[in-house]
Symmetry: C2
């Protein structure tokens, strides 16, 4: 920050423009622009480039991206649209995206309130920003359809995205099967499924894949017992508490939860009800949040490689932006079962 003073209390120094740099260096603004954008090869003499760089340093010039975006017709901002950043798993995704895109683009997040989808005005304003590209986490089909044709887009965690949309998904079907097989191998035959009531595609796939796998293994899955809840610890716990008597009567020996967050609530309330996990009741989650290993007992879950997927999605988008033809339009990342104490006696 040494040579670019930003006097917070001094007189409101005027913004330094390319024109001022040009005057200082004795060149045109066209030349300044070429230097700033690294397009000097064969277009700017070494001497002039040097002069411009010195002038930039002297004046503390910073490219105005608003002017730049208007002239180029597109900004260098990539917007990551997420329905819910309270999911800690999302931080990992971002970290992966940053690794690939942070150098050349400005990464911004646009979030809606948890569980809610972005409104029409929010979407319009989004495109009014002229983003260079979009990474959409778990977009609903309407949002996807509303993206203007000329904006490069990559979807993440969107198993229902049309094949024409580049996407990187987690293999949650496989994860759901792994859970079913794991519980079956531990002798469970009657099981409850706590679904998440957000309508996201990944959650539908998780449920359907689990049902299919459990059924084909000859297990019984209780219907709507417990009742689906939002992805919230307290709501999930309450739903479990309400359903437990019936589950118990039906001789259910395990609760499979659509998300780790919900499983935390079930663990908590099962304990409050005096149940011993996993002896009296096995519990499993999905997502393998960083906190799941710290539960007591640890929560058996499905690990999703969020950072790897972030890297993949960002790489795909970068290729799209540089017109590199991408080989595969949709990638799928394997899931991994992590067995912990909540489903396995030591």
């Amino acid at each position: 920050m040494s040579n670019a003073p930003h006097p917070r209390s001094d007189s409101p120094t005027r913004r330094v423009t390319a024109a001022m740099v040009a005057a200082e260096a004795g060149v045109s603004t066209a030349t300044v622009s070429l230097v700033v954008n690294g397009k000097t090869a064969g277009r700017v003499s070494a001497a002039n480039e040097q002069r411009v760089r010195e002038a930039i340093d002297r004046l503390g010039y910073v490219l105005d991206s608003v002017g730049s975006s208007l002239a180029r017709g597109v900004s260098s901002t990539i917007i990551l649209v997420a329905p819910d950043i309270s999911n800690p798993f999302f931080a990992q995704l971002i970290s992966g995206v940053r690794q690939v895109l942070a150098t050349d683009y400005h990464l911004l997040l646009s979030v809606s309130d948890p569980g809610q989808r972005p409104s029409l005005t929010e979407v319009s304003r989004l495109f009014g920003q002229r983003p260079a590209g979009l990474i959409l986490h778990a977009p609903d089909p309407e949002f996807l359809a509303g993206v203007p044709a000329h904006v490069p887009v990559v979807a993440v965690d969107a198993p229902d995205a049309p094949e024409t949309v580049p996407a990187v998904n987690f293999d949650v079907s496989q994860g759901a099967r792994l859970i079913a097989e794991h519980l079956h191998s531990r002798g469970h035959r009657t099981i409850a499924y706590l679904d998440a009531a957000t309508g996201t595609a990944t959650l539908r796939v998780r449920r359907e894949a689990f049902m299919a796998a459990a059924t084909s293994l000859g297990m019984t899955v209780l219907q709507h017992l417990p009742v689906a809840t939002t992805i919230d610890i307290a709501a999930a716990g309450a739903s479990f508490t309400a359903a437990w008597p019936q589950m118990h009567a039906a001789q259910a020996s395990a609760v499979v939860c659509a998300t780790d967050t919900q499983a935390y609530g079930v663990l908590q309330e099962a304990r409050a009800a005096g149940l011993e996990v996993p002896r009296d009741l096995a519990v499993t989650g999905f997502d393998d949040l960083p906190f799941s290993a710290s539960m007591n007992p640890g929560l058996t879950s499905i690990n999703l490689a969020a950072d790897a997927v972030g890297v993949q999605a960002a790489t795909m988008l970068r290729n799209l932006l540089s017109d590199t033809s991408i080989e595969q339009r949709q990638l799928i990342w394997p899931s991994r079962l992590v067995v912990r104490g909540s489903s396995a006696l030591d």
Copy 2:
């Protein structure tokens, strides 16, 4: 989305501009601009306003915020700068900010990698966006000093912010005292403090306030035992494990952690070491993350009203933006002790 089709596969329809709307409505672009910005009072006839609105609907016009920002000299984007969004507590803060600002401004998040501070280039690009204002979560002094004088700023969770900077802080000193008093009242006399090694001001304040309170209550706090760690479950657990023999020898009966995240690691490793919490060792956290109630035993912690603080900060910024003089430049929000099983026998 009905009357504003975004043909994803059709021919690349040209962006609809204010000039096209003006032509369609038979008025000037100046009039279109006034209507779009709701500045019609006494400046646009009802008839013309009506015509313009119809033309906008017919053509599916959306204000281009890049052009608008350039003309006005400032965008309608408010950027929330956060060092680490993996902190779930951050989602609550955002929710509060959104409640106040989402209608009139576009809220975007700029994140750096966990624990790292934003680089100079990132900061420059930030201001190249011409944000209407900034909300800074736990900014370091250098960043704060680098904010151009004309950009309205509100800091959050920045107990070291100069008095000239509007800020909303949590009373973490009070929280630290509450922890000390609670443990003292439970009979603890020798205590370990697991600090967080990120250099954020709030963490320094937590530690200093705790040390002062504990000392004045006549308690002994072991020095650098365990060794400070990043805000990471595994790192904290490992640090605890390494320090436990010495802590035990020193007859420490409690570990006070700078953050809940670290406390999770301690709980986990204490359990692995065969310790019973809280009988053999009490553990406390700080932040009261949503997961802390789900630990077993539940984690005693300090609850910070993140959403309330988000609302406050956003309100302050909105007042700053509308030239309303704000009464108080710095607000402080009380902390609340939440006692759970990790420090209290049933």
